[in-house]
């Protein structure tokens, strides 16, 4: 065997090994998704059958129709709860982050450094430390057990402000000066000239905030007590606990909750992954 062909041979083995590892990783990653999907299509008797099956013998939509037809599970309402909280938090976060980021990037005023430090200190404060007093404050404000209680404590995002400031610092000052010469007010400059430049970072921050809010569990668990005000993750644990003997229903409910976020991920996969890679925040 010549050296030439030996190196190609070694290369080939390397490639085969690499793709084997990647393939195993792929199966392990996707298997739970496939499993929940297939389980959700099984009949209640098949899913507890021993020995268990992997593929449903007679695939059925029965579990989904049971959930959709359950008067105690008005799915539309729970989707509405989750959506309204997510949309409100995305909207408010994008507005406050871009506005404050703009001020910090382009204005000079007394106390600016201190204010920026106060905001950045928020990043270091773990939520678990303030959640107990925050709950007591919401009790005083009578916001417990309301969707407002999920929105109002999350209106300022230190990371969002930081990210917007970084980005706005790259926008030429001439743009703002031109606005001033045209007689635009300060807010008009922000709204008409700055904001349209921010579509990329706003999209990143928006997607991230949406996903974090949609999957949020601990804070809604603390704040929400009334069934009708539950968000989807809360609904899911409640549903699972109250249908313990019928796992196929829980699997179908999980699919219903997972589906929208997986669709969003498929649509925005590139931005979401790039976002996580550069910011590294969870």
């Amino acid at each position: 065997m010549t050296t030439q062909s030996r190196t190609t041979y070694v290369h080939l083995i390397g490639a085969v090994l690499r793709y084997t590892v990647l393939g195993i990783g792929l199966s392990v990653t996707l298997l739970p998704f496939v499993y929940v999907l297939l389980s959700s299509l099984k009949t209640p008797s098949e899913i507890i059958h021993i020995p268990p099956t992997f593929f449903p013998k007679a695939p059925t939509w029965q579990n989904f129709t049971t959930i959709f037809g359950d008067p105690k599970v008005p799915l539309g309402l729970f989707f509405f709860n989750s959506s309204i909280v997510a949309v409100a938090r995305v909207g408010v976060t994008l507005f406050t982050s871009s506005l404050a980021g703009y001020i910090f990037a382009r204005y000079e005023f007394g106390g600016k450094g201190v204010m920026f430090a106060i905001i950045m200190a928020q990043i270091m404060i773990p939520f678990q430390m303030i959640m107990i007093p925050l709950y007591l404050i919401l009790v005083k404000l009578q916001l417990i057990d309301t969707l407002w209680g999920l929105i109002i404590p999350a209106m300022i995002d230190a990371f969002g402000i930081f990210m917007m400031r970084q980005f706005i610092e790259g926008i030429p000052r001439e743009l703002i000066d031109a606005g001033r010469i045209d007689g635009a007010s300060e807010f008009q400059i922000y709204w008409n000239l700055i904001l349209p430049q921010l579509s990329a970072p706003l999209a990143s921050l928006g997607i991230f905030t949406f996903m974090a809010t949609w999957n949020d569990y601990l804070w809604p668990l603390i704040v929400i007590t009334t069934h009708e005000r539950r968000t989807l993750p809360l609904l899911l644990t409640w549903y699972s606990n109250s249908h313990g003997s019928r796992p196929s229903l829980t699997m179908a409910a999980s699919v219903i909750v997972l589906l929208p976020i997986v669709l969003i991920y498929i649509l925005f996969q590139r931005q979401i992954v790039a976002n996580a890679a550069t910011s590294g925040f969870k």
Binding site: I119, M129, L134, P247
Partner: protein, 317 residues
């Protein structure tokens, strides 16, 4: 057109009209809760009792000084649970960190080397579990671990082995002294979480300039030497960042354990955050819970400071 003086005034007015509400908001929803949390830790406070006039502190919610902190070392039942939760949280973190790195770093290197066309595909699929709801993940893995009809045990039976009698609820099951339920939880957590570190490593690897690798190649470095003497040192800042972020998120483990095991069997998977949550919101024992949250805060702060202290890159390229 306005004079420069009046223009500056208008700008300052705008800046203050934006910053004032933000600062007031942060005082109410951030500074106040922080101070309140510290104070609560020194009180025997329950929201079920009326207490004094200021935030319900005092009277039926008396000031107890360091009693909550001292009680952590005592032999009361909640103190035992708390110490158990500290141990569990550290055990979880100490196991998750090396396992996570052992999966993500090699996998990132392999993906980095594969063909550009498949690279994006693998990265996207591996990242998928991180965006899915942790509650759904917990329910799916709960079904996988089901002793009778679960996927895992049927796989184990297929290859002719005898599976354990329960993955999540057998208090007698240990592997190398680690509760089996904890191991099951860690596997589910790794599955959900590895995508984050993976994409961060891939991005860092892509940032290593090709000329450095070329130079090492010219010097006759083999693959292993390349990894230990070129790639790894250049990844050092990323590695530290990833370690600290993984430690911080592991220390705050909550959802998977809460939904999959509710801390059982026999508190073997109760984490600090779960202990804080149930004491504060289930047993209404908020003074005690606040003191525990201070301990967790202290631990988290320590690692945050380590990150800020050492996260200055020694390498410029």
């Amino acid at each position: 057109m306005a004079t420069p003086g009046s223009l500056q005034r208008a700008q300052r007015r705008f800046a203050f009209s934006v910053m004032t509400p933000i600062m007031i908001y942060l005082m109410v929803f951030s500074l106040l809760p922080m101070i309140w949390a510290v104070i609560l830790g020194f009180f025997d406070y329950s929201p079920a009792r009326v207490g004094g006039s200021i935030f319900g502190l005092g009277e039926s919610n008396p000031f107890v000084g360091l009693k909550n902190y001292i009680a952590m070392f005592g032999d009361s039942q909640p103190a035992g649970v708390f110490r158990h939760s500290v141990y569990n949280t550290f055990l979880f973190t100490v196991l998750v960190l090396p396992l996570n790195l052992a999966i993500t770093l090699p996998l990132a290197i392999i993906i980095e080397r594969s063909h550009a066309r498949v690279k994006g595909f693998f990265r996207a699929v591996y990242f998928l579990p991180t965006v899915t709801s942790a509650v759904a993940v917990a329910l799916i893995w709960g079904a996988i671990y089901n002793p009778q009809a679960g996927l895992l045990n049927s796989l184990i039976r297929t290859i002719g082995l005898t599976p354990p009698k329960a993955w999540l609820s057998d208090p007698q099951a240990f592997v190398f002294g680690i509760p089996l339920a904890m191991i099951a939880l860690i596997v589910a957590h790794l599955w959900q979480d590895f995508g984050y570190n993976l994409v961060i490593f891939i991005a860092a690897l892509q940032g290593i300039p090709q000329n450095l690798r070329d130079a090492a190649m010219v010097d006759g470095a083999n693959e292993q030497q390349m990894f230990w003497y070129v790639t790894l040192p250049l990844l050092q800042p990323t590695l530290l960042f990833v370690c600290v972020m993984t430690i911080l998120s592991s220390l705050q483990m909550f959802i998977l354990a809460q939904v999959m095991t509710t801390g059982g069997p026999r508190e073997q998977t109760t984490t600090m955050l779960m202990s804080i949550y149930s004491n504060a919101f289930r047993y209404q024992n908020m003074g005690w819970a606040a003191a525990m949250s201070m301990v967790l805060f202290g631990i988290i702060m320590l690692f945050t400071i380590i990150q800020f202290r050492f996260l200055r890159s020694d390498w410029e390229y």
